[in-house]
């Protein structure tokens, strides 16, 4: 338990930042009109693909012979990129249709 408290103490700045960001997310979305719900969900889904950075860092740090890390990491990179690129591209396609007016 003490160890956990220490962890919290060491990361207090982090935790403050976390709370602020949560509120920021609430605020940004709370006034969005219904027309944008689908593009917004798709766009924010693309942003959640940011997790790919973790996979990139993992593969970069892996030993050249550490095949397990490299293979799983590369699969992670592929899936993450699909999420990021596909997500933004499809969001753009949806919003393009709105623009024509």
């Amino acid at each position: 338990m003490l160890e956990l408290l220490d962890f919290l103490k060491e990361n207090i700045l982090f935790i403050n930042l976390l709370i602020m960001t949560i509120y920021l997310g609430f605020e940004i979305i709370s006034k969005v009109p219904a027309v944008l719900h689908t593009p917004l969900m798709s766009g924010s889904n693309a942003i959640s693909g940011i997790v790919i950075i973790g996979a990139i860092l993992l593969v970069r740090q892996a030993e050249t012979t550490d095949y397990l890390t490299i293979i799983l990491g590369v699969i992670g990179i592929i899936l993450g990129t699909i999420n990021v690129v596909g997500g933004h591209a499809v969001t753009n396609r949806m919003l393009e249709m709105f623009k024509k007016k």
Binding site: N11, S44, I50, G54, V90, F98
Partner: protein, 459 residues
């Protein structure tokens, strides 16, 4: 050097924030998406080239992976039909979740005696949440694309409760006794993957938009947790933004369906309810294309109410043509949009925008209900649950209390429908038996095309 890297990361975080902000306003949404995409690109480039001590880089693998992923992503997004967007978002979300799962597994493999409690708890929670988002999204994808059938059991909510407690219990045990059982991390992984399936499986189709939004938020949280593990601010802040905005979006949708998030999550529509099934509903009145065409041509105000059936029949463009010709002949045509019509929030707006219907013609539920008494004809195109009057007057109905578009306040109602099957939530709809309602059976697109050609022959 390091301080420049940190600065660049801050720039990309700000770009993500600005992008999300602009995405939530119609005029700037497209720009917002591009800004967010450039923030993502910057963050990824930094993570590839920032100097890390003693790293092997393995650039060949990284660039190869990114190239393959980007090609597949672009292919999917070009190929998808607008009606299939909900499925696609769900699938993409599953991939993001899977990425979080792979990272967590590899991190857990690196754990040793000096690993701090904070790091191991964060990683295990990321593993759990990522796994649920992964398999849950795949099940949601399967359900939306019709590959997985609805199946409900009265015990599934108890099973889910038991299972989630079990998973969390195992995780706590593993964090506190990391060296005791070597196989336990694998058990946790499998247990979490199974929970994602059993969590989404019993949830009824009508609640699917809420579930996708929730799973999206979960992937965000998994990304944020991975950000803590890697001490990476962009991952943390981006993930948290998606998580919190996803939760708000989920709650907005629950509110518009008058359901609590808990009742959605605990297991979809319950099993102890009384349906109108079997009761004598009276006779259904059928109408013809010709009749409907005449009535619409000589009406003053027509309201079109689209639902998922319009998406299935691909009838949005035909609707627009009908709208156009009626408007030319002096009929006032509008569309009433229920917030949860379709399979995703705003689904109908996207489809109608694709068909070039102007914003100003799309009226939201409240305004539509206020105007309803002036409407001569309500044309219901493939909507069912969102116009079901049971929600207003039948306390034993599953959807009792859900706000609906109150079409019975209009003078006439015409329902375009393939047959007498029930809506996605599987509930009987007394609207079809009401004496104001006329049914026009057949494929929605064919029916509207029929009406269209009849109207063209009139002056």
């Amino acid at each position: 050097m390091m301080e420049y890297i940190e600065l660049l990361y801050i720039v990309s975080t700000v770009l993500l924030l600005m992008g999300l902000r602009k995405l939530s306003s119609p005029a700037t949404a497209r720009k917002g998406n591009l800004i967010a995409a450039s923030g993502m690109t910057l963050a990824i480039i930094i993570s590839i080239f920032s100097p890390i001590e003693g790293s092997n880089n393995n650039y060949l693998f990284i660039f190869g992976g990114i190239l393959v992923g980007a090609l597949i992503g672009v292919f999917y997004s070009k190929k998808v039909k607008m009606t299939e967007i909900p499925e696609l978002v769900s699938l993409f979300n599953g991939y993001g979740g899977a990425c979080a799962v792979f990272i967590s597994i590899l991190e857990i493999l690196k754990f040793n005696k000096t690993t701090s409690l904070g790091l191991s708890s964060t990683t295990y929670i990321a593993l759990f949440i990522g796994s649920v988002a992964f398999t849950g999204s795949l099940v949601a994808y399967g359900k939306l694309s019709g590959k997985v059938k609805d199946w409900r059991s009265s015990i599934s909510s108890y099973f889910n409760l038991f299972w989630v407690v079990l998973c969390i219990g195992l995780i706590v045990f593993q964090i506190l006794n990391p060296e005791l059982y070597e196989f336990l991390p694998i058990v946790i992984l499998i247990g979490s993957l199974i929970y994602g399936v059993t969590f989404v499986f019993p949830i009824g189709g009508a609640d699917m938009p809420v579930v996708i939004s929730l799973l999206n938020a979960l992937t965000g949280v998994a990304a944020a947790l991975a950000g803590i593990v890697y001490d990476n601010m962009v991952m943390l802040l981006g993930g948290i933004l998606v998580g919190s905005s996803g939760v708000i979006l989920t709650l907005l949708m629950c509110k518009s369906m008058n359901r609590s998030l808990l009742s959605v999550v605990v297991g979809g529509f319950g099993s102890s309810y009384q349906d109108l099934e079997g009761k004598d509903q009276g006779a259904v009145k059928e109408t013809t294309v010709n009749d409907t065409a005449i009535n619409m041509r000589y009406a003053d105000n027509v309201m079109i109410i689209p639902g998922y059936g319009m998406a299935v029949a691909q009838a949005q463009k035909t609707c627009k043509e009908l709208d156009k010709i009626l408007t030319e002949k002096g009929v006032n045509v509008n569309y009433a949009i229920h917030p949860v019509a379709g399979r995703m929030p705003g689904h109908m707006n996207v489809l109608l925008a694709e068909a070039d219907v102007s914003y100003s013609k799309l009226i939201d539920m409240e305004d539509a209900n206020n105007k309803m008494s002036d409407i001569d004809i309500c044309l219901i195109v493939g909507a069912n649950d969102v116009v079901n009057p049971s929600a207003l007057d039948n306390p034993s109905s599953l959807i009792y209390g859900m706000p609906i578009i109150e079409v019975l306040n209009a003078k006439n109602v015409v329902v375009l429908k393939r047959g007498m099957s029930k809506g996605y939530s599987g509930i009987e709809n007394p609207l079809f038996f009401h004496n104001k309602t006329k049914m026009l059976f057949g494929d929605a697109k064919d029916s509207i095309e029929g009406i269209l050609s009849e109207i063209k022959t009139m002056d």
